[in-house]
């Protein structure tokens, strides 16, 4: 499996916010996307998922052109996203949220198997399965959002700011879980403000600045890069 973003441009109205993004995500990788607010990280993920349409450029999952497909089909092709702010369905139960993640999977038995694995990964969700998702804590909602995305049985998981608004202890838990999911073979794209934590986890990283990729390298090299240290890691640690 390989995800390729080629010269991706996105406009909001008349304003171009992505000026030609190129990314290559290979099977089994964790790739971090770093950058300040408004650099175009989330927009890139939304374009991959089909929630915004590119004004130019192409996106391929293997040979399949994602940029031509509607959002619901992109999920079925194997690209799942955990959106920024989690976006769980607050007035639905935890179990209903998870089942929706596997909406297109008509194989009841298979859905139940995946659901059981999600409950293994996040035991707290099992305890709260009949509770409304809106009553969960922020950390639990993040786990639900990740679990829900995994329910689709994706080939690649896009995570948009999973640490946002969480207490440091929970951030650690979430990042450990992401690593765990990756070790079971899942390819992961991780958009993060928390650059240091993201680079410690990732194999490679891209640095975005105002709609462009300005740096691309292995995670270790980015961590050691003085420019990255100054701009995103709060100086030398």
């Amino acid at each position: 499996m390989i995800l390729k973003v080629e010269d991706l441009r996105v406009k909001y109205g008349q304003v171009e916010v992505l000026h030609g993004i190129n990314l290559t995500i290979r099977e089994g990788e964790i790739v971090a996307i770093l950058g300040a607010n408004g650099a175009g990280k989330s927009t890139t993920l939304m374009a991959i998922s089909g929630l915004v349409k590119p004004s130019a450029g192409r996106i391929f999952l293997d040979d399949f052109p994602l940029h031509e497909a509607p959002a619901h089909e992109i999920v079925n092709r194997g690209v799942a996203q955990v959106p920024e702010g989690r976006r769980v369905f607050g007035t639905l139960t935890v179990a209903e949220n998870l089942r929706l993640g596997a909406f297109s999977n008509r194989n009841q038995e298979q859905v139940e198997q995946i659901e059981a694995r999600i409950y293994e990964l996040f035991p707290v969700l099992k305890q709260r399965r009949d509770q409304l998702a809106g009553t969960l804590s922020g950390g639990e909602q993040q786990m639900l959002a990740i679990g829900r995305a995994l329910m689709a049985g994706p080939k690649i998981l896009l995570l948009d700011e999973p640490s946002l608004g969480l207490a440091p202890i929970l951030v650690k838990t979430i990042f450990r879980t992401i690593q765990h999911i990756n070790e079971s073979g899942m390819t992961i794209v991780l958009v993060e403000q928390n650059a240091r934590a993201a680079l410690k986890l990732a194999h490679r990283g891209y640095v975005f600045e105002v709609g462009r990729v300005v740096l691309e390298n292995s995670a270790e090299k980015l961590l050691a890069d003085p420019n990255v240290q100054n701009a995103y890691l709060g100086g030398v640690a």
């Binding site: 998922s49 619901h72 909406f103 689709a152």
Partner: protein, 301 residues
């Protein structure tokens, strides 16, 4: 006391009709945040289609009363559902990305269009439903003589509401409809085809509204082409009363409104029937601005 229970059963029957129409308003509002002003006219279309099936096509005399009634419900539901889906396609989908106000204007236009189409086809006179579709007998319930048609209207609306509730709560597609009502983009990320879900809502809502039209024809025995306006307004009130966007709320709101109206007409004045209904709405909205069942759980941010 007899009078009270007669009015109560009458109110429940009328309330069931309001509830069926209110469901269409509330479901469409749920997924599109749009008041479908043409919904009352789709309800009137149901009443007139029922009339045509009974008179010109003589549906009832061909297959017997009970089977005829069942077929009538099926046909009217199907045809009005189809009209609802066409309406969505023609009047609302092209405006999905436009400002909310454009869709509202389009809804008002569609309302006038449907109402005038009915008038052009059937004329502006009041039409009378054929007599004897249902035997004009009363059923004894705990010593109370309740007309059969009243029981039928209430039972049909209750059955449809129960079926809808089960569908929305228990099925995969029903859950998808609730998800789309909460967050369309998040629903897309689940692999849900949002356009398709909206289309389904525009089949179900108008389908139920169409049956309500048929029930009004059967209950009162007459229909007119402007009936969509007042019933639409009442049902919209019921939807607000229960909490717009909330399906059990629409059911509850409809029944409450029907009962209050019937009792008001009996004990205060028939002339004040509508005023009493709207007074209750105002009082409840002052006390509970979200409606009776609105916003049970706030989403955490």
């Amino acid at each position: 006391m007899e009078e009270f229970f007669q009015q109560l059963t009458n109110g429940l029957a009328v309330g069931g009709i309001y509830a069926l129409i209110a469901l269409g308003y509330t479901m469409v509002y749920g997924v599109l945040k749009l008041i479908n002003f043409a919904h009352g006219d789709l309800f009137a279309l149901g009443a007139y289609l029922g009339l045509t099936l009974l008179t010109s096509l003589g549906l009832n005399s061909r297959v017997g009363p009970l089977a005829g009634l069942a077929l009538l419900v099926v046909f009217v539901t199907g045809l009005v559902a189809l009209a609802g889906a066409l309406l969505e396609r023609a009047a609302y989908r092209p405006l999905r990305q436009s400002p909310r106000l454009s869709a509202v204007v389009s809804a008002l236009g569609a309302s006038i269009f449907i109402q005038n189409t009915i008038m052009l086809i059937y004329g502006s006179k009041i039409h009378v439903y054929p007599k004897g579709i249902l035997p004009a007998v009363a059923v004894n319930i705990f010593g109370l003589q309740v007309p059969l048609v009243r029981i039928l209207v209430f039972v049909v609306s209750l059955l449809l509401m129960a079926a809808l509730f089960a569908f929305i709560q228990k099925t995969r597609l029903g859950t998808a409809i609730r998800a789309v009502a909460i967050d369309q983009d998040a629903a897309r990320l689940m692999g849900i085809n949002v356009d398709q879900v909206i289309m389904i809502v525009f089949l179900i809502g108008p389908g139920l509204g169409g049956v309500a039209g048929l029930l009004v024809g059967l209950y009162y025995g007459q229909v007119n082409f402007t009936m969509g306006w007042i019933y639409g307004l009442k049902a919209f009130t019921a939807a607000i009363l229960g909490g717009i966007g909330n399906i059990p709320g629409a059911m509850l709101g409809g029944l409450i409104l029907g009962v209050i109206e019937a009792l008001g007409a009996a004990y205060v004045s028939v002339a004040w029937k509508d005023a009493i209904a709207f007074l209750v709405l105002i009082v409840i909205l002052i006390a509970r601005p979200k409606g009776l069942l609105g916003e049970r759980v706030a989403d955490k941010i």
